[in-house]
Amino acid sequence: MPELPDTGVDDEIGSGPTATEAFEREQHEFGGVAGDSGLLQVGAIEAGPASTRRRGAGLGFGAWAAIGWMGFIILIAVLAKVGILTWGDANESFASCARKGPLADEGGAKGFLLGCDSNGRDMIPRLALGAWTSLLVAVGAVTLGFIIGGTLGLIAGFTGGKTDTILTGMFNVLLSVPVIIMALALVAFLQGASGEEGALSPEMILIIAIGVVAIPLIGRITRASSLTWAQREFVLASRAQGAKSRRIMIREVLPNVLPAMFSIALLAIGIAIVAEGALAILGVGVRPPTPSWGNMIALDRGNLFKSPHIVFEASLLIFFTVLSLNLLGDVVRARFDVREGGL
């Protein structure tokens, strides 16, 4: 439970921490940003299943299941992309199978276990290839977000002062623009810039768009973490010994910030997968015919009433993947959470 800083017996309104300040501390403590927007919604992963277990009791069933699922998905994705095991052609159409599948109005199609989409393309290879695309986009975007946002946040939290004010101001400005405008404008711009032949691959466009949007979010979280660590005694001690700022930042603060950031990264990958899906529904997802879980849902949501299996299958995969990532993120945080009580 976060302890409010001791304000003493102070009657004046406005002298305590502001809600946003306290909220940001909560963020750091709980490693999550609660409900930022409909598009990028992260839950405060405070007190998740991992925390209700005693620490040091070993990974529970949930965590192992999550690891297993992620391993399975990554394996399928890589195999499909590399072409070793594709389970068929993701783009080949079969008229006999169009719109058919489990739960579909027109019934199932022989030989197609998970059915086909509205173009008669086999769901299995599409979902496998889609896994690759969705994961690539998500991991790429989060990496971009961390490289730029994380670095900026680290510097802001550690350096403080004017640099911090400017950087935080930048983050706030970026965050005040509705996410949807940023994402739509970026994708439209990148698609236009890469021309019709596609100098930038469809995945790359999404990585950049989602990544840029993630920068201020990740920056803010990293800053909070960096800020906390920067005020610790050992950092003060390092300074006293005359070590240069940059050295301290990289040598002392960064290694402590990283584990918490790793947990955030796992959650963020889940969010990015969902974000790609939302953008696909808005018409700016990964360009077809490259399948991604998001654009498969977007393409066939009109067939939801007659051929629900298409949307169901992709949604289930997203659900379990995000769930696993959330679980693993929670576990990582619980492991590395060094709480020394208050500040």
Partner: protein, 328 residues
Amino acid sequence: MELTKTVAKRLLQLVIVLLFVTMFTFLLIRLLPGDPTTTIIPFGTDAQRAVLRQDLGLDKPLYEQYADYLTNLLQGDLGKQYNSGRPVIDLVSQSLPVSLQLMIYAQFIALLFAIPLGIFTAYRAGTRSDKAINTSAFALLALPNFVLALFLSYFVGAQLKWLPTGGYAPGWLDQFFDSSRSPDLIEHARYLLLPAITLAVGQIAVYMRLLRSDMIATLQENFITMAKAKGLSNQRILWRHALRPSSLTLLTVAGLNVGTLIGGAVVIEVIYGIPGMGLKIYQAVFSKEYVELQSYVVVIAVLFVLVNFFVDFLYTVLDPRIRRARAS
């Protein structure tokens, strides 16, 4: 006094943020390929486009366009839509109350479920029911809201046909923005129920957990032990004495969410066909309505900052340490 100083400080912050946000948006949406003349006269010749661009003031240098926009803004003019010439303020009056009502209902539903659940799981922390509820909430967080929207509209809308699958009717708030829109409360509620539930579900888990953790800590405080010793019932303790001091973080987050969700529920508005601000923004991006977009961003930013300000204010008023200190 302190209060005026705070207000003044906040106002200054608001102005600075607005300045930078409008500047940033201004530049951002110029990134979009093409220009509004494409949408207004798709069959126009290059010459006709050039004339139109001039009429709309799009041939002036960027800084001049921005300065013009700011000047108008300071006079309260949010500009006009290039395509139809309609004042943006009209478009805002039409769509903002829709999004606001949707947000409010979503938050209300979320809190309606999250508060009792939060209290219950805090009270029963560590038990099996606590774990079960926590795990379900955790799982719910992994469900993308557009998936839920699609499923709800399928099952409740198409299969069971209990609720409409799209559309809108004015509610209680619309008439204050546009007096010609008289409320049709029953239809309004029917159209917004599914979208509000969809948005709420994502929040319930978050709010529940926030409340739970704060409650668990509060329940360990001395004054709770004292109340128990006095013989007060658990119900009374939980709802009357423990809830209020524990609800701080929850209310903060809920408040902040109202601000951020206004422009952020686009996917829900698209899937359910709700003519809110998010949908307007979405359409304006594709029609390259620069001025319209900038004004939406201004409106949202102002609302966001105002909401933040209000929440901050509420927070400092409700800060339990201060209240207790004053009470003693």
